[in-house]
Subunit: 202 residues, 2 copies
DNA sequence: TGATAGTAAGTAAGTAATTACTATCTTACA
DNA sequence: TGTAAGATAGTAATTACTTACTTACTATCA
């Protein structure tokens, strides 16, 4: 319940800034997201941003933190509700796809940070997020192999790479088509193929 | 066998410019590839670029043309030498991985162009390349289903998306590790999973 | 309670640096 | 010698960030 005041609190403004970046990234190239564009999206002057963030990089750092927290929380929640490793992988997949469909700018910002030449705080956070995500997948796949639900002959590292790449492929299709709804429609078919790839054969 | 002259011909310079961009993209964020950086990579002043290209966008257009021509030629050559649809898909996969390992900047430039907000000539060329690439995959997968080599129950469109995403996933791993050789090492394992996903079961 | 001083949040108008691109002059080769 | 290729030194526009000033909320105290 935000009262209609002209001034926001520092915390509200920081959150609003992060959300503005995520929304802008859905329609614009991350490298074209200038501080002026962020401020305009928020209905505020450009200089006002620097009351809450020392640099633009600090803004991107906050964005990466926002993404890591929300994505991992939802993914963990989905996995916890599942009753087997394979079902957990499917739940994670669909949850991730939902997240990307809700926030199409997120994978673009992530990829943009990873592409940076020099190491930076936001790039480090993007790497850390993918590493943590990969560890969760690795554990689930190993558990699935142990329980016999997944084929014990598959390469776990390759299965992790394929999982992440599968979502990347869906994101790419979305960017090609320019239609966000498409990712939700195509996701089940693509995961069905992934299940064929890793599942044990009857 | 370029003779040691100070002035290059227009055609040589255009090719050298494209190669400079591809080399720069291997180490730098595509949006950080300025005309100054391109010129420095070529050992030439920045203004000299505009003797051969009217705009920077025209340079990127030439880059996309260079990529489309070389990648599709190599992919077609690899597919033609294969004796079955599945072997053709494997040959295309490995050829593509080789191409990316040789030119790690290429997928970054491609992805960067696709991310652009407004339509542009290079973006259109990137979309056209992926479309043509996808059509080739589509035909091969359909042929494989007809011959019984691939499962007839799989979704062909999803299989195309998964193929492209699989390579994207390998590229992402490369960017995370910062080590180009890794993609060649991991490629066979990942394709083995892809084969499990689409192949008919014995 | 109600005036008021202090402060956080915001504005407006700057800065230097960098960008793509250009005008003018110079060099090298056929 | 004429011309294409390149060098030099610009241009206006845009970038992240700053400075000086103004507004709105809040805690304090008579």
């Amino acid at each position: 319940m935000t009262t209609h005041t002209k001034h926001m609190s520092a915390d509200e403004r920081r959150t609003a800034t992060v959300e503005a970046v995520v929304e802008l990234a859905a329609r614009h190239n991350p490298s074209e997201i200038t501080t002026t564009a962020i401020a305009r999206q928020m209905g505020v002057t450009q200089g006002a941003l620097f009351k809450h963030f020392p640099t633009k990089e600090a803004i991107l750092e906050a964005v990466m933190g926002w993404v890591a927290e929300r994505l991992l929380a939802r993914v963990d929640q989905a996995a916890a509700a599942a009753t087997s490793p394979l079902l957990a992988l499917e739940a994670i997949f669909m949850t991730h796809v939902d997240f990307v469909a809700e926030h199409p700018g997120v994978p673009r910002v992530m990829f943009g940070e990873l592409q940076r030449a020099r190491m930076s705080a936001p790039k480090r956070m993007a790497q850390a997020l993918i590493r943590r995500y990969g560890e969760r997948l690795h554990r689930l796949i190993e558990a699935g192999k142990a329980s016999g639900e997944l084929s014990s002959s598959i390469d776990t590292a390759a299965a992790v790479t394929l999982f992440v790449g599968t979502i990347q492929g869906l994101v790419m299709q979305t960017m090609l088509a320019g239609d966000v709804r498409r990712i939700r429609n195509e996701a089940p078919g693509v995961f069905a193929l992934y299940r064929r790839a890793i599942g044990s054969r009857p």
